[in-house]
Symmetry: C2
Amino acid sequence: MASDTKNRILDAAEQQFGDRGFAETSLRDITKKAHVNLAAVNYHFGSKEALLAAVLDRRLQPINERRLQLLDNLESQSGNEGPSLREIVRAFVSPPFEKQQEWGDTGQTFLRVLGRVHGETNDEFREVFMSEYELLYQRFTAALSRAVPHLGNADLTWRMMFMVGSMAFTMSWSKSIVLRDPTASLSANETIESLVTFASAGLAAEQPLEIPVETRRREVQ
Amino acid sequence: MASDTKNRILDAAEQQFGDRGFAETSLRDITKKAHVNLAAVNYHFGSKEALLAAVLDRRLQPINERRLQLLDNLESQSGNEGPSLREIVRAFVSPPFEKQQEWGDTGQTFLRVLGRVHGETNDEFREVFMSEYELLYQRFTAALSRAVPHLGNADLTWRMMFMVGSMAFTMSWSKSIVLRDPTASLSANETIESLVTFASAGLAAEQPLEIPVETRRREVQ
DNA sequence: GTCTATATGCGGATAGAC
DNA sequence: GTCTATCCGCATATAGAC
C-alpha cells in the first residue's frame, strides 16, 4: 500500500535525521532502512528537503495544536487575573514529551530531530521554520506578559528564549543523560515537572538592578 | 606564512560551520573564502573532521580554562559556606560571551558553532566532545551541590542540563533574536546577567511535591 | 608550503520498463 | 506505485611538480 511505504520512509528518515543529522543521512540510508526502493522517496515526497519538512510536520502540528489547546483551556477557565505562570509554562513545555510517550518507539527519536532543528541557524531555514511558530509565540508571549507583569518586553523575549533552550536541549539529550547517570532517570512526567519548575522560577525571577562593583571585580579577575 | 594560512582557514571554517553547518560546508567553500588552495586544508589539518576539532579547540580551551579559573577564585575567596549560587552560575555562563567580545568579528560566529555542536547527538561525536567536559562538570557539580543542598543528585544533573540548554540556545540564536525584535538587543554583559538570573532562580527553585489532581485534570483536558 | 590535476566514490534526482 | 539503471555533479583526499 502506498501510505504504508510513505510511513515507513517517514519513520526511517526520522530515525536517521535524529541519530546522525540531515546532511549526514543519505536517501540510500533511509530507503535501505525502510526496506523500500530508492526512487520511492522522490516519488512520494519530491525531494530530500521536502521529506524533512514532512518529517517535521507530521509531529510538530499535533504538538503545537496541543499547546494552543492547553492555553485556550487555561484562559477560558481562569478569572480576570489570567492563568498562573506555572500553568502557562506547562502548556508550552509538556506537549512534546506527552506526545513522545503517546507515539512510543517510532516517535522516540523525533525529539532529537527537534533538538537539532532548534540549533539550525541557517537563514533560509529559519525563515521557514520560524514562520510556523509565529502564532504560537504571540499567544504565549501575551499570556506570559500578564503572568509576569514586572518584566519588560525585552526581558520577556530573552527569558522565553532561555525557556525554549532548556526545553530543546532536554529533548535532544535526555536519552544520553540517562545513560551516563542512571540515578538521573526520570519519567516523562517528572521531566516535564522538573523543567516547568526550572523555567517558571527563571521567568519569575527579579533581575538584580546592579552588581556590586567590588564583588564583580573579585569574580572577574 | 604558514600560520597565516592556517588561521585564515580556521576563520573561514568557523564562519561557514556556524552559518551553514559542518556537513553542509565543503572544503571548497572554506578554501575559497579563505583565499587559500584547496589542498592546504589537508596539508595543515589532515582531514575535514580534524579541521572541525581544531576550530572547536582554538576557542573552547580558553573558554573552559576561564571557567575553571573563575571557579577557583570563587572557592579560594569564599568562607566555609562556599561561593553563592549566583556566582557559580556566572562563572560557568559568562566566559563564552566574554570571550566572544574579546575576539570581535572573527570570534562572533563561534558561538553559533558551539550551539550547533550542543545539539549534535551522534554517539561517537558525543564521546569525544563530552570527554573534554568531564573535569568541568565534576567541578561545577560539586560547587553547585554545596550551594543548593536541598537538591538531590538526580535533580541537580537535570537542572544543570537545563542551564546548559538555555546557554547553548542563547549562544546560537542571540543574533537572530536581536534582528527580530530590536528592543530586545542586549550587550554581552546584559545577556550574561539575564541568563545568570534565569538559571540561578531555576536551580534554586523548590520542586513542588505534588500537583493537585484537580488542577492537573483541568489542564490536561 | 603551495599549487594543479586527478583518483575515487557517493550524493540526489530521474527516465522509462513493468 | 514500484523497480532498475543511469545521469551527472560534487565531495574528500592525495600524488607529484614546483
